[in-house]
């Protein structure tokens, strides 16, 4: 009896979940459909003047009439998308390096040393996370573009992204460093290791999961960011991928939805690959400290 009730309950659960999955996947299926359709417009099915129900259904099912790679070839051959992708890679990689390095060293200091301003520092990092990112747009623009003259420059954008990524990374890493027993460091100290050596040889290798999460977060902050990049990257040759994508469909010219979709898929791939690669660390990193190892 109870088994039957259980399975009926499961049916409902599964129905709800299936609907949720469809809702989530539907837009992505459309992007894929448009990208592989070889066309530029969204409505690629011409409804007859007097459409039947079948015609209408056909129009909302994301399935291309023909499958072709022409949009993918064109964004690289006819459009400067390759260049934009390269810009994104450079900026994101640099942001990751700078962000992770500074966040690790800062978080270690916050976790282990007592110094004036320690609490205030951590708090200001936390508070900076409470405001919407766009609020910092104008001050950052003034500092980076007007004072430092780093408009349309890799370094300028990397600096901006690092300021956004570092506070979260520092909190994340500090939390992890706090869980690493001090006795390990004391033991290393007796063994004759210098503080720098303890950091590089003991702490960082042990914090790998947290460092992986931070690296991924920094990378994604930079890779997906749109507004800051749009604001300071004026020259077309310096666009990042998200900014470039926007210009396929945003202007007054013909809307190039096919290029937009193809470009989006290409731009999403690195993040997907990174996620898969770092999955193992992500799980242990995000739950860091929640259970006693």
């Amino acid at each position: 009896m109870s088994k039957r009730e259980d399975s009926v309950g499961h049916v409902w659960q599964h129905l709800i979940l299936i609907v949720m999955v469809l809702v989530t996947v539907y837009p992505i299926l459309w992007v894929l459909t448009v990208a592989f359709s070889g066309q530029q417009n969204l409505a690629f099915i011409d409804l007859p003047a007097d459409p039947t129900l079948g015609d209408r259904l056909r129009a909302i099912i994301p399935w291309p009439e023909q499958v072709t790679m022409s949009n993918f070839v064109a964004v690289f051959r006819d459009q400067p998308f390759g260049r934009w992708l390269l810009n994104s890679v450079v900026v994101s990689a640099a942001t990751t390096l700078v962000g992770v390095f500074l966040a690790c060293t800062a978080a270690y200091a916050f976790s282990r040393f007592n110094f004036p301003g320690r609490r205030a520092g951590m708090m200001s990092f936390l508070i900076s996370q409470m405001f919407p990112g766009t609020l910092t747009l104008i001050p950052l623009y003034i500092i980076i573009v007007e004072w430092l003259r780093l408009g349309s420059n890799y370094l300028g954008l990397v600096l901006m992204y690092a300021t956004i990524a570092i506070p979260f990374c520092v909190w994340m890493l500090k939390g992890y460093f706090d869980t690493i027993p001090r006795e390990l460091e004391e033991s290393a100290l007796i063994d004759g290791a210098s503080p720098a050596m303890i950091f590089w040889k003991i702490i960082l290798p042990l914090a790998k999961p947290a460092v992986a999460v931070t690296a991924l977060f920094s990378f994604m902050t930079a890779w997906n960011e749109f507004i800051l990049a749009l604001t300071i990257m004026d020259k077309e040759s310096m666009y990042t991928a998200p900014v470039g994508l926007r210009f396929f469909v945003g202007g007054f010219a013909e809307q190039q939805w096919g290029f937009f979709a193809a470009g989006s898929i290409v731009a999403a791939l690195p993040v997907v690959v990174l996620f898969l690669m770092l999955q193992r660390y992500l799980i242990s990193g995000l739950t860091a400290g929640s259970v006693k190892g």
Binding site: P181, E183, S187, A188, L189, I190, D191, A193, L206
Partner: protein
């Protein structure tokens, strides 16, 4: 090899004094145990020797050298931590040679030291494993091995056995004692477990609230505890205490329902103190069955049995003396030992005999021992 000397050492955290004027000499090749309840300052004292805590006042000398401002690595010590503190991302071998590599020792000598240490500890087959693939006992051995390969002049142990189960603890206790006997390296061992202290140390230093209470061999501490704290702390089950009044110009001790003649060896203390109160201490093994034949002078005490604990080789009887209705008054509870087969019933009134020449007398105010060294 070297001794360690605490010379009027103080340690404060802000306004809180955790160690006060500690004077203690640990002799070369000695196995010294620092023991006390948690928060007594024993671990802090050990960490000050290691250089992991700053010394607020006074001097610590290792050998002839004042080490107050010497970096931990230059103190020629090795420490075994309670959590073992093995580097989780390194193999056992790498854990053991980490310090040696930092000293830029050549590979040949390093391997020789590791081989020797791992042979002594029986961990040869574990050298390539990571700590997480070791059992608690094996980790403990590796931690000791890591200390041995450094060939330091002083070993420091910070409660190294408290994470092991009871059986393994007994085994490792014997191994560490044996190792110290063999290597003859000065060893300072911190524990809160008085059994470890009694069984392992050449000498024991008892600390309480940052004050050194008594230093001596295990037997000295057991037989002549200098104050109530040490008397209560050393020995299981702990010494019994009750308040009594001196009567008949020091010839008798009286408490509620208890009359004990004072033995000649204690007369010097009680004489001329009629009417004064003292704390009388008697160890459970000196309070036994009336049936037991003994050459020692004894006196009888009537007890109402409150608890009987059978341990196999002996039976512990907890009982209250006196006529008070409050039969649960802990200040009138005594623990004695009877033979395994004479199990008394609960609430039964029994008689036991107290050995009179091994009573301990303490001043109830100062808590100091009355007698030769206490007065």
């Amino acid at each position: 090899m070297a001794g360690v000397i605490f010379d009027r050492v103080n340690k404060c955290y802000g306004d809180t004094e955790v160690i006060r004027e500690l004077n203690l000499e640990i002799r070369d090749q000695e196995f010294m145990v620092l023991v006390g309840p948690s928060g007594c300052g024993k671990s802090t004292a050990l960490r000050m020797i290691a250089g992991l805590e700053e010394i607020t006042g006074g001097q610590i000398r290792i050998g002839d050298r004042v080490v107050n401002n010497v970096a931990p690595k230059d103190r020629d010590i090795a420490m075994v931590f309670q959590s073992y503190a093995l580097y989780p991302h390194m193999s056992v071998r790498e854990n053991m040679d980490f310090g040696l590599r930092l000293k830029k020792m050549d590979r040949g000598e390093m391997d020789q030291r590791i081989d020797e240490a791992s042979r002594i500890l029986g961990i040869e087959k574990l050298l390539e494993r990571r700590p997480k693939h070791l059992s608690g006992g094996q980790r403990q051995r590796v931690a000791v091995g890591r200390a041995i390969v450094r060939q330091p002049s002083v070993f420091l142990f910070d409660e190294p056995l408290s994470n092991l189960d009871a059986k393994l603890r007994v085994q490792m206790r014997a191994e560490i004692t044996g190792l110290q006997h063999r290597l003859k390296t000065t060893t300072i061992y911190v524990t809160h477990d008085q059994v470890e202290a009694m069984t392992m140390g050449h000498r024991i230093a008892v600390l309480h609230d940052g004050d050194l209470q008594q230093v001596g061999t295990p037997l000295e501490l057991y037989e002549t505890p200098r104050n109530l704290f040490v008397a209560r702390f050393i020995g299981t089950p702990p010494m019994n205490f009750f308040r009594a009044t001196i009567a008949d110009d020091g010839a008798r001790l009286t408490a509620d329902g208890v009359e004990l003649p004072v033995h000649d060896s204690l007369r010097r203390i009680t004489q001329g103190r009629s009417g004064k109160e003292v704390m009388v201490g008697i160890r459970p093994e000196n309070l036994y069955d009336v049936k037991r034949q003994t050459d020692h002078p004894t006196a009888r005490i009537r007890l109402k049995v409150a608890l009987v604990e059978t341990l196999g080789h002996e039976v512990l009887v907890h009982g209250h003396f006196g006529s008070d209705e409050r039969e649960t008054d802990p200040s009138k509870l005594l623990v004695g030992k009877v033979d395994p087969h004479s199990e008394p019933e609960l609430n039964q009134e029994i008689e036991m005999q107290a050995r009179l020449d091994s009573l301990h007398l303490y001043d109830p105010e100062t808590e100091a021992r009355l007698g030769e060294e206490g007065e």
